[in-house]
Amino acid sequence: MTSPEPAVHVRDLTKTFGATRALDGFDLTVPHGEVTGFLGPNGAGKSTTIRVLLGLLRASSGTARVLGRDPWRDAVAIHHRLAYVPGDTNLWPGLTGGEAIDVLTRGESGERHRRRREELIERFELDPAKRARTYSKGNRQKVALVAALSRDVDLYIMDEPTSGLDPLMEAIFTDEVARLRADGRTVLLSSHILAEVEKLCDTVTIIRAGKAVESGTLAELRHLTRSTVAATTDADPAPLTRLDGVHDLVAENGRLRFDVDDRALHDVLPVLTALGVTGLTITPPSLEDLFLRHYGDELEPVTEDAS
C-alpha cells in the first residue's frame, strides 16, 4: 500500500477566476490503492480541484501532481492512466449511449474491454441503442459511469458520480467501487452525500471555501465529533453537567439525553455508572454530524458557484 508518491498530491493549490478565489491554498493527498472521499458543499471548490487534476484548468499557484506528473504539462500521459466521471454528464444528443461510451473510451480495445463494457451495461440496465437525447439524467450518468468503470486504469476520479441515480443503481455503483479497491485501484470520490462517502472511503478530505478544513481517516475524523448518549436513570444528572465535553443535556421523566465529545467519553462512562443507569445507548457520530459541525451555522453564506 505504501508508494514513494501518492496517486494525487496537491499542495497549497490556488486557482483564481478574476477576483474570485475558487481554491485558496488547498491541500489534498490521495494514497495509492485507497478510496479517498472529497467532501464539501456546493461551490466549495471540489469541481475546480478536479478540473485542475485533469489538466483542464491551470493552477494559479501551488503544486498538483497526479500519478507522479504535472497534470497541466503531461495531461495526455496522465489521461491514459485515469478515468473520469463528471457530476453532470452532457452527451452528444445525436449519438447513442453505446456510441458515446465508445467515444469516451477510445483508447481501450480488446476482448477484455468488450466483455467488461457489456457486463457494466447489463449491471446498470442501460439501453445502449437509444439516442442520448432521449436519456434521463440518471441514464446519462450511467453512460459516464460505464465508460469510466470499463477503463482499465490506475486512478478513477469521480465528481459526484451518483447524482441522478436511483438507490438500486447507487448500490451497484458502491459495489463496483468496492471491487476497484479490492483490485488495488485508487479512487478519488467527490460528494456531498455523506452516507456514500462513509460507506466507501478510507480517508476523507473536507473542503470549504477553497481550503481543506479537515483531512484524515474516518476514525481520526470521528475524534472531532460527538456521540449521542441516551440513558435511563432516576438519579439527579447534575454531576454530568459539571463534566467537560457534555452538551445539550436534557433530563425528562427519568430519561437522559446528551451529546458528548468522543474524546470525553471515557470520563462520562464512570459518572453514568455512578448514576445507576438502567438502560444505555450510545449512537456513534455520522459524517452528517461532522459536516454540520463544520458548516452548521455558517452554511448560509456559501452560495456562490465555482463553476
Partner: protein, 548 residues
C-alpha cells in the same frame, strides 16, 4: 401555536383556466429572453437603411448614372440578386432603392424570425424548459402563442425601423410604410414557416435549418421566376419574398400582395396548431429510431467525432449549394441572348462582353463561396459549443491532446468545405454546360472553385485562433463572415471604397475564368491561414477550458 390563519396566505385567488392561461407572464419571459436580439436587429436596420440610402445618393447623383445602372442591371444575374424590374424605362432613385435594397432587408428579417421562432418554440421544448413551464398553471396554447406574439413584435419593430429608415433617407410616406410592412410580414411568414418545421422535428437546429432551406429555395424561386419575366412571372408568386417585392413600392404602389403574406401566415399557423395537437411534449411527429449499440470504426477514427457532429450540416448545405450553383450556371444562356441585344454594354460596365458567360460564372462562384466560408466558421465554432456544453473534457480524458483534437477538427472542417467547393464548381460548370453545350466549362469551373480554398481555410483559421485565445471571443469570427457577405452582395452598389472592399479576403481572389489566375494572393492567404491555425493551437494549449 395558534391556528388563526385558515387559508394559506401565499396563494393567490384561483382564476378560471383556459388554453391561454399564463399568457401574460410567458410573454414577459419570452420578451426578456428575446429583447437583446430584437434590439440589436432593429437598431442595425435603423442605422443601415439611411446609411445605405445616403451612400447610394453619393454613387448615383443624377438620372444619367441611374440610367446606366438600369442598363447594367437588366440581366438575369442582376435580377437574381435584386428584385423584379418594374421601372426599367425610368429608373428613379427610389425605384433603385426598392429594387436593390429591399431583398437584403427581407432576407435578414426572415433569418431573424426563423432563429427567434426556433429558439422560443422547439429550443425551449428541446432543452426541457417548456416542461417546467407547462407544469405551472399554463394553458396548452399559451407558450406557442406567446412565442409567436414575440416574433410578431420583433418583426413589427424591424418593419418600423425599415419604414423610419426610409423616411429619414427621404422616401415618400406611403411607400416607406409599405416597405416596412412588407419586411415585417415577410419576416412573420418565415416565423410561421418555422412554427411548422418546429413541429416536425425534435431539434431547434433542424427546425431552423429546414426553415432556412425554405428561405434559400424562396430566394431561388423568386429569382428564376423574375428571370423568366422581368417584372415577375407565375413562378415568382410561389416565393414569399416576391409578395413583398410585388408591392411595386416607389414605382406603382399596390397593397394587395401583402394580403397574400397575411393569408400565408394564417394558414401556416393553423397547420402548426393542428400538428402540435397530434404529438407529445418533446416529441417530433416521427419518433426517433434506435441507433447502433456500439460505435463504428469510422466514429472512433481520428476526426470521426467531428465528422459526425458537422457532417450532416455539411452534407445538407452541400446539396443545397449544388442546386443553387446548377440554377445560376444554367442562366448563362439567357445572358448571351441579352448581350446580343446590347452591343455597347462593355462601355458601361466591367463585364467583358467577349466572355460574358465566364465573368458571370466567376461572379456566381464568388457569391456562392460565402456558403463554405460560413460553414468553415460554424464548423470551428462547433468545438466551442462542445467545450461550453462540457462534452470536450470527456474526449480529452479519453486520451487525446487538445492540440491534436483541435488540429483534427480544423482538418475535418477544411476537408468538408473543400468538398463543398468542388461541388459548387461542378454545379456551376454543369449548369453552364447545359446552357452552352460546351463540356470544357465543367473542368474549368471546378478548378476555379478550388482557388477559393486558401480563403476558406483563412476564415476557419481565424475562427480557430480566436477560439484558442478565448472561448468567448470565438463568435467574433462571424463578424468577418457578415462583412464579407456585405461586401460581396452590396459592396459595389453602396460604392464602398477600395480599402473597405479589400478587407474581405474573397475580394483578393481573381475572377477565374474571366480573369487570369493570380497565385500570389492565394499563397499569402494559405500561409496566413497556416500561421493562424498554428497560433490557435498553441493558444488553446495555454488556456483554461470552460467547463466539464
Amino acid at each position: 401555536m395558534t391556528a388563526a390563519t385558515a387559508a394559506p396566505t401565499h396563494r393567490r385567488q384561483r382564476r378560471a383556466v383556459g388554453p391561454l392561461t399564463g399568457l401574460r407572464s410567458l410573454l414577459r419571459l419570452h420578451l426578456r429572453l428575446a429583447r437583446r436580439g430584437i434590439l440589436i436587429w432593429t437598431l442595425a436596420v435603423l442605422v443601415l437603411v439611411p446609411a445605405s440610402i445616403y451612400a447610394m445618393e453619393d454613387v448615383y447623383p443624377d438620372q444619367a448614372a441611374l440610367d446606366a445602372r438600369a442598363t447594367l442591371l437588366d440581366n438575369p444575374s442582376a435580377v437574381m440578386m435584386t428584385g423584379p424590374f418594374f421601372a426599367a424605362d425610368h429608373y428613379t432613385f427610389w425605384a433603385m432603392v426598392a429594387n436593390e435594397l429591399l431583398l437584403y432587408l427581407l432576407v435578414p428579417a426572415a433569418i431573424m424570425s426563423i432563429l427567434l421562432t426556433a429558439r422560443l418554440t422547439r429550443g425551449e421544448e428541446e432543452s426541457g424548459r417548456l416542461e417546467l413551464l407547462r407544469s405551472l398553471p399554463t394553458g396548452r396554447l399559451a407558450p406557442s402563442v406567446s412565442a409567436l406574439l414575440v416574433v410578431a413584435l420583433a418583426n413589427l419593430a424591424l418593419g418600423a425601423a425599415v419604414a423610419s429608415g426610409m423616411l429619414i433617407g427621404g422616401g415618400g410616406a406611403s411607400d416607406s410604410l409599405a416597405l416596412g410592412l412588407a419586411t415585417a410580414l415577410t419576416g412573420l411568414v418565415f416565423g410561421a414557416v418555422t412554427a411548422v418545421t418546429a413541429q416536425l422535428t425534435e431539434h431547434a437546429g433542424t427546425a431552423s435549418g429546414t426553415a432556412l432551406g425554405i428561405l434559400a429555395l424562396s430566394f431561388m424561386v423568386r429569382g428564376i421566376g423574375d428571370v423568366i419575366e422581368r417584372d415577375g412571372s407565375w413562378l415568382s408568386w410561389f416565393s414569399p419574398l416576391a409578395w413583398a417585392q410585388q408591392t411595386r413600392a416607389f414605382v406603382d404602389l399596390r397593397w394587395w400582395p401583402l394580403l397574400v403574406s397575411l393569408a400565408a401566415v394564417a394558414v401556416l399557423l393553423v397547420i402548426a396548431g393542428r400538428l402540435s395537437h397530434r404529438r407529445d411534449l418533446g416529441a417530433g411527429l416521427r419518433p426517433a429510431a434506435a441507433g447502433r449499440a456500439a460505435a463504428s470504426a469510422a466514429l472512433l477514427a481520428p476526426g470521426g467525432l467531428t465528422r459526425r457532429l458537422v457532417g450532416g450540416t455539411h452534407l445538407a448545405w452541400g446539396i443545397g449549394l449544388f442546386l443553387f450553383a446548377l440554377a445560376f450556371g444554367s442562366l448563362a444562356s439567357s445572358l448571351t441572348d441579352f448581350a446580343e441585344n446590347l452591343p455597347d454594354l462593355a462601355g458601361m460596365a466591367p463585364i467583358r462582353l467577349d466572355d460574358l458567360t465566364g465573368s458571370f460564372s466567376a461572379f456566381v462562384l464568388m457569391m456562392l463561396a460565402i456558403g463554405p466560408v460560413a460553414l468553415a466558421v460554424s464548423g470551428m465554432l462547433r468545438m466551442r459549443t462542445e467545450e461550453t456544453a462540457g462534452r470536450l473534457a470527456g474526449v480529452l480524458v479519453a486520451g487525446t491532446s487538445r492540440a491534436r483534437l483541435a488540429g483534427q477538427w480544423f482538418l475535418v472542417v477544411l476537408l468538408g468545405t473543400a468538398a463543398m467547393q468542388v461541388l459548387l464548381g461542378l454545379g456551376v460548370g454543369i449548369g453552364v454546360w447545359s446552357a452552352t453545350e460546351d463540356t470544357a466549362w465543367i473542368g474549368e469551373m471546378t478548378l476555379a472553385a478550388l482557388t477559393y480554398l486558401p480563403a476558406v481555410a483563412l476564415y476557419a483559421a481565424i475562427a480557430l485562433a480566436l477560439y484558442g485565445l478565448g472561448s468567448r471571443l470565438a463568435p467574433l469570427a462571424w463578424l468577418l463572415v457578415v462583412y464579407t457577405a456585405l461586401v460581396t452582395f452590396l459592396g459595389q452598389m453602396l460604392g464602398l471604397p477600395d480599402w473597405a472592399m479589400d478587407l474581405s479576403p474573397l475580394q483578393h481572389i481573381a475572377l477565374v475564368p474571366s480573369e487570369d489566375l493570380e497565385v500570389m494572393p492565394l499563397v499569402v492567404m494559405g500561409v496566413t491561414a497556416t500561421a493562424l491555425a498554428l497560433l490557435g493551437l498553441a493558444l488553446l494549449r495555454r488556456r483554461d477550458l470552460a467547463a466539464g
